[in-house]
């Protein structure tokens, strides 16, 4: 089966620093793929490259078999590939519900009024799933860190044709209850057909959510397989603990 997301020799240089180096990654449709690696290994840069925030220096990104390298982030999002940010980026002056609806109407059409009731209903269902519905009319800026993380994730599901969701450290700085809710939401959306790339330092969560894990170090892929396989890989142990010179 053709992978839904594929990077081919993807490279990004910042001056003399090679942040992502000849990265090859293939994610199957319906998968929840883990992406782990020590700090500074290039995980977030990879997400930025796939989602269009950075243009690759060389190499290609394929989404559904089509090259999207160099596309703008909004064009990629309209095509069904969404991403979240490590530090939640919400529209603080807007209410929780407005944050949800903006994602639905981002691909602006003049007949948006036709979809308005349906979009509000969908937003309400997602907010209920994330247990944020009592806060729907509150300004997003007053939410707690965990609630912001949750809102940022469920907001992406408002995009009608979402098929891939890149989650950058979704469990960072959230309590156990919120973490459980995030995992529940991911699982429900995976069953609904969304493919995930999950960047996380939370090994227990990655082990629980992902059947396959990719490990990055110094901008390149050093291992791939089940959590047990990569945990036993000497290169991975070296990357995390520091190998012999």
């Amino acid at each position: 089966m053709e992978p839904i997301i594929e990077t081919r020799n993807l490279t990004r240089r910042f001056g003399g620093l090679v942040a992502v180096n000849e990265m090859n990654l293939a994610i199957e449709r319906g998968e929840v793929r883990g992406l782990i690696g020590p700090n500074g290994s290039g995980k977030t840069t990879l997400i930025n490259l796939i989602s269009g925030v950075y243009e690759p220096t060389s190499g290609d990104v394929l989404f559904n078999g089509k090259s999207i390298a160099g596309w703008s982030p909004n064009r990629i999002a309209n095509y069904g590939l969404l991403r979240s940010f490590q530090v939640p980026r919400l529209f603080g002056s807007m209410s929780v519900m407005e944050n949800m609806l903006i994602a639905r109407f981002a691909d602006f059409r003049l007949d948006y009024r036709k979809d308005y009731d349906g979009a509000t209903e969908k937003a309400q269902q997602l907010l209920e799933m994330a247990e944020l519905d009592p806060l729907r009319d509150k300004p997003a800026k007053i939410l707690s860190g965990g609630q912001k993380a949750l809102l940022q994730i469920v907001r992406g599901f408002m995009v009608d044709n979402i098929s891939v969701y890149l989650l950058d450290e979704p469990f960072a700085g959230v309590n156990v209850v919120v973490k459980e809710t995030i995992m529940k939401v991911i699982e429900q959306m995976r069953q609904a057909g969304v493919t995930f790339l999950l960047v996380s330092h939370e090994m227990a969560s990655v082990r629980r959510m992902c059947s396959r894990v990719t490990v990055m170090a110094q901008g390149a892929r050093i291992a791939e397989g089940s959590m047990e396989e990569v945990a036993a890989n000497p290169q991975v142990i070296d990357a995390y603990l520091g190998g012999k010179k």
């Binding site: 982030p73 969404l82 991403r83 994602a103 109407f105 602006f108 009319d137």
Partner: protein
Amino acid sequence: MQKRWAHLKNANYLLAGLIVIGLAIAPAWLGDYAKHIVILSLYYVIMAASWNLLAGYTGQFSLAHQSFAALGGYASGLLILYFKVPLVVGFLAAIVTTMLTGYFLGRLVLKMRGIYLAVATWAFSESFRLTIAAAYTYTRGDQGLPVPPLFQSLNPIWYYYLFLALTVVLLLVMYLVLKSPIGSFLRAIKDDELAAMALGVDTVKWKLFIMTFASTIAGIAGFFYAHYIVILSPVMLSFNEIGKIVIMVVFGGLGTFVGPLIGAPVIVILSELMRDLAEWNMVFYSLCVIVIMRTYREGIASLARRVLERFGMRRKIALANDKPTP
């Protein structure tokens, strides 16, 4: 929650309707000078409200907005003076030139924010002012360019109703834009442009749209203003002019729809009251802005809303207390 404020929203529509009716019947009691003050206020309401779309809603702190009003006026004035075109052609020229210039300025400053955008737009505005002043053989520079009036009659009542209708129409258009998803896109761009892009909002398109839209509105207002004051000079492009617009919006409430509607008439009236103080009135406005920024940053409109909400809450509690206990 929405139902809770629904009565306030309906009250806003009612209040807006009453103000328009009040202004429509007011000339019966107003002298020519008072009518002139209302006309000036309406012009600045349009200018302040359209600048608010850029700075208040989108975070694009442009200092070139007054240039578009002047451009609208000069485009029409020059065509009528040198090519003897009818007024309607002057009007269309004002729209087209401000629309195109707004679009190109928007393209130019697309990747700029904050102080960089402010400086670049100020530089644009100053270049335009100096060009108008330097090309005096065509524009008559500081001597002023004569522009024909819209009406043969000297009675300001025609201008009064024209500006009232123009303000209502343009405010309605701006309101509809802000109530559509476009309004949310603009606020999203102001809050976090990258997050908006990551959700699929075409931020380039909407930033260009709002710059073009707001510039065109300023151009239309400038056209009518030019044909009302019948003489155009580079003073219309001075920094004081944009300073006044900024003060009106900040005083009323930056990023609120009602803010410029309150701020503009207040500042115009204060300006007329302090006419004898000449440049000192700008010092007074600046002090007003400092006080507002220090005490209530969201402006008079938000302060009034808070008071109304508090009053509404108290009334609700009072009504609840009046209910007989079971």
